[in-house]
C-alpha cells in the first residue's frame, strides 16, 4: 500500500521508455499526468471540503447542514457546481475586460502551483526542490496580485476596497508567517520540505516550536482570507469584496482557488509541524491526508467560532503582536540551538 503511487509512476515511465521515447520525454509526460491528477484531486477535494464546511458549520450552530441530496447531502456540492457551470457568464460593461477575465485563471493557477513542492508521501513530492519552503511562501503571496487584479478590473468600489484590504492584509501577515517558519528552518538547517519531514522523525516540531505554530496558524488564517480575518470579502460591508462582479464559473474559480489554498496551507502546516507523512501503521500518503484534514477542521472551527475583527485591529495584531512574538521566537530558537550545540548534543 505504501508504494502504490510510486509503482504506478515507475511502471508508466518504463512503459513509455519501452515504447521508444527518450527518458526526458517520458519524464515530461509523467509530469503532465501528475499535474492532471493533482488538479483532479484538488477539484474533488474542494467538493468534499465545501460539503464538510457546511456540515461543520451546521453542527456548530446545532443545525443539520445540507442533508437533502444523497446520503447526508454529499451530492449537494455537485449540484451546486452543475448550477454554477450552467450559469450565464456576465461581464459588466465598465470593466477592464482582459484583467477581469484573466484574474480568476491566474488565481487558480497560482493555487495549484503550490502543490509542486508539497511531499504527499514518502518520496512523493512532484518536484523535490531545495528551496521548497521559500518557493511555497513566494508563490503563495502571488495570490494577492490576482485578488488585486480582480478588484481593479471589476471597476467597482466594493471590489477595489476588498482588493486593497487584501493587499494590506497579505503584506502585513506575510512577515509573521515567514518569521514563524524560520524557527523550523533553523532547527532543520534546510528549506527542502522533504528534509524537514525527515528531521521530525523523533519529535514533531509542534512540540519544539509551539509559539511558531500558533503564530503561523494565525498568519495563515489571514493569508487565506478566512474568517475571522475575511476582511477582503466581508459580505456585510463589501457585498463580496473583490468577487462582487463575478458570476458563474469565474466566481466558482475564485471559490475553488480559495479552498485549494486552504488545502495547500493545511498540508504545509502538517508537513512543518505535525511530522508530515510520518506515522505508524498507515501508508505515508494517508497520514498526510489525515493530518491535513485535521488542520482544515481546526480552520473551520476557528471560522465558525470567531466574529470578524476590524481592519485596524487586524493590522495592529500583525504589526504589534505577531511580528514581535515571532522575532522573539527566532532569537530564543537560535539561543536554544547554540545552547544544545555547546552542551554537545
Amino acid at each position: 500500500m505504501e508504494n502504490w503511487f510510486l509503482n504506478i509512476a515507475h511502471w508508466l515511465t518504463s512503459w513509455l521508455v519501452s515504447l521508444g521515447l527518450a527518458p526526458v520525454w517520458a519524464d515530461l509526460i509523467l509530469l503532465v499526468v501528475q499535474w492532471t491528477i493533482i488538479v483532479g484531486i484538488i477539484t474533488l477535494n474542494v467538493l468534499i471540503l465545501i460539503w464538510l464546511e457546511r456540515k461543520v458549520a451546521g453542527f456548530m450552530q446545532e443545525r443539520l447542514g445540507p442533508n437533502r441530496l444523497g446520503p447526508f447531502g454529499i451530492f449537494q456540492t455537485i449540484a451546486d457546481t452543475l448550477k454554477l457551470l450552467t450559469k450565464e457568464d456576465i461581464i459588466p460593461s465598465q470593466t477592464d475586460r482582459l484583467i477581469f477575465k484573466v484574474a480568476p485563471m491566474f488565481f487558480i493557477i497560482v493555487a495549484v502551483m503550490l502543490y509542486a513542492v508539497l511531499p504527499m508521501g514518502q518520496d512523493m513530492a512532484v518536484v523535490n526542490l531545495n528551496v521548497g519552503l521559500f518557493y511555497f511562501i513566494s508563490v503563495g503571496s502571488l495570490s494577492t496580485i490576482c485578488i488585486l487584479m480582480a478588484g481593479w478590473g471589476s471597476n467597482n468600489k466594493w471590489s477595489l476596497l476588498g482588493a486593497m484590504r487584501s493587499v494590506a492584509q497579505m503584506i502585513s501577515y506575510e512577515i509573521p508567517l515567514a518569521f514563524s517558519l524560520l524557527g523550523v528552518v533553523m532547527i532543520t538547517g534546510s528549506l527542502n520540505l522533504s528534509d524537514i519531514v525527515q528531521a521530525q522523525h523523533n519529535i514533531w516540531f509542534i512540540l519544539l516550536q509551539p509559539v511558531a505554530f500558533v503564530t503561523f496558524f494565525i498568519a495563515a488564517t489571514a493569508e487565506l482570507n478566512r474568517g475571522p480575518f475575511d476582511m477582503p470579502e466581508a459580505e456585510q460591508e463589501l457585498t463580496a469584496g473583490a468577487y462582487t462582479e463575478y458570476t458563474g464559473m469565474r466566481w466558482a474559480l475564485f471559490f475553488l482557488a480559495e479552498y485549494t489554498n486552504l488545502v495547500a496551507v493545511s498540508a504545509l502546516a502538517s508537513t512543518l509541524f505535525l511530522g508530515g507523512w510520518q506515522g505508524p501503521f498507515l501508508p505515508s500518503w494517508l497520514w498526510i491526508i489525515l493530518k491535513t484534514y485535521l488542520i482544515m477542521l481546526v480552520f473551520m472551527w476557528l471560522k465558525w467560532t470567531f466574529p470578524r475583527i476590524r481592519m485596524d485591529h487586524l493590522m495592529s495584531l500583525s504589526w504589534k503582536v505577531l511580528i514581535p512574538i515571532s522575532l522573539v521566537n527566532i532569537v530564543l530558537t537560535g539561543a536554544g540551538i547554540e545552547l544544545f550545540r555547546w552542551m554537545g548534543w
Binding site: 456548530m60 446545532e62 465558525w304 467560532t305
Partner: protein, 237 residues
C-alpha cells in the same frame, strides 16, 4: 485576558458540535405545539346559541352569522356561520367571550390557500341538528346528534335500539301502541317479545329504523301467534 475568551468561545462551539441538533424538518416532522397555540379558528355548530357576542368582540369583523326565527319558536335558529380568516389577528377575544365554548383555536397552522375565496370558512347548518329536534318530539331518550361520520351514526343507532328495548320491556302498552292496534294485539305481542329475545330485538331495531316496516312485521307476528293459539285451542278442544 490574552486569548482566554477565545479559548472559551472555541470550547462553546466544540460543545455545540456534538449536541443534538434543534432543527425540525418541518413537512416530515411536525413541531411541538403548546395547548394554548392559536392555529386556525374553528367553530362547533351544535353548541352555538347565536348570541352574537363573538361578532361584537372581534376587532376586525372577522366573524359573521345568519339566523332565522321560525314562527312560534322562542329561540333564533342559526343558519350559517362565517369566519373570514384573512382579517383574523388571532387575538383570542372571540374565544374568551363565547359563553358556550363554541369558538376555539385548533393546532392547524397550515392556512395557505390557492384561491382568495377559500380563505373564508363558512359553516352551514348541518341537517342533523334539525333531525335532533324531531327526535326530541318523539321523546327518544339518549339521542345525541352531532356532525358525524359513519362509525358515529352506527354507534348512535345501537344506542337508540338499546333505549327502545328498554322502553319495550318497561312499558309495552305505550311503546307497542305505535305499531299495532287494539289492546288484545298489544297484549299478545308483549307476551311474545317478553318470551322471545330475537323478536324483541327485531321489533326494536325496526322501530328505530323504519316505523312502517315495524308495523307490518309486528302485525304479522301477532296474526301468526293468533293462528298458533287457535290451532292449540282446536287441538285441545
Amino acid at each position: 485576558m490574552y486569548g482566554k475568551g477565545l479559548l472559551k468561545g472555541l470550547g462553546i462551539t466544540f460543545k455545540h458540535t456534538f449536541e443534538k441538533d434543534i432543527t425540525i424538518q418541518y413537512p416530515e416532522e411536525m413541531p411541538f405545539l403548546q395547548d394554548r397555540f392559536r392555529g386556525c379558528l374553528a367553530f362547533d355548530f351544535g353548541k352555538c346559541i347565536a348570541c352574537g357576542l363573538c361578532t361584537k368582540a372581534c376587532p376586525n369583523n372577522v366573524l359573521s352569522f345568519e339566523t332565522a326565527k321560525e314562527e312560534g319558536a322562542k329561540k333564533k335558529k342559526l343558519l350559517s356561520y362565517t369566519i373570514d380568516l384573512q382579517y383574523c389577528l388571532f387575538c383570542n377575544l372571540c374565544v374568551e367571550v363565547c359563553p358556550t365554548n363554541t369558538l376555539y383555536f385548533t393546532h392547524n397552522f397550515e392556512l395557505t390557500k390557492l384561491n382568495r375565496e377559500e380563505i373564508k370558512i363558512i359553516y352551514h347548518r348541518p341537517p342533523e341538528l334539525d333531525l335532533l329536534s324531531e327526535e326530541k318530539k318523539t321523546d327518544n331518550p339518549g339521542v345525541q346528534v352531532e356532525p358525524s361520520d359513519a362509525a358515529e351514526t352506527e354507534a348512535k343507532r345501537i344506542k337508540q335500539i338499546e333505549a327502545m328495548k328498554m322502553a319495550l320491556g318497561k312499558n309495552p302498552l305505550k311503546a307497542l301502541g305505535k305499531v299495532v292496534d287494539g289492546e288484545e294485539d298489544i297484549a299478545i305481542l308483549s307476551a311474545l317479545i317478553a318470551t322471545d329475545e330475537k323478536k324483541l330485538s327485531k321489533i326494536a331495531e325496526l322501530m328505530v329504523d323504519d316505523r312502517e316496516k315495524a308495523r307490518k312485521i309486528a302485525q304479522a307476528f301477532v296474526s301468526k301467534e293468533k293462528k298458533d293459539r287457535q290451532k292449540e285451542g282446536g287441538e285441545q278442544g
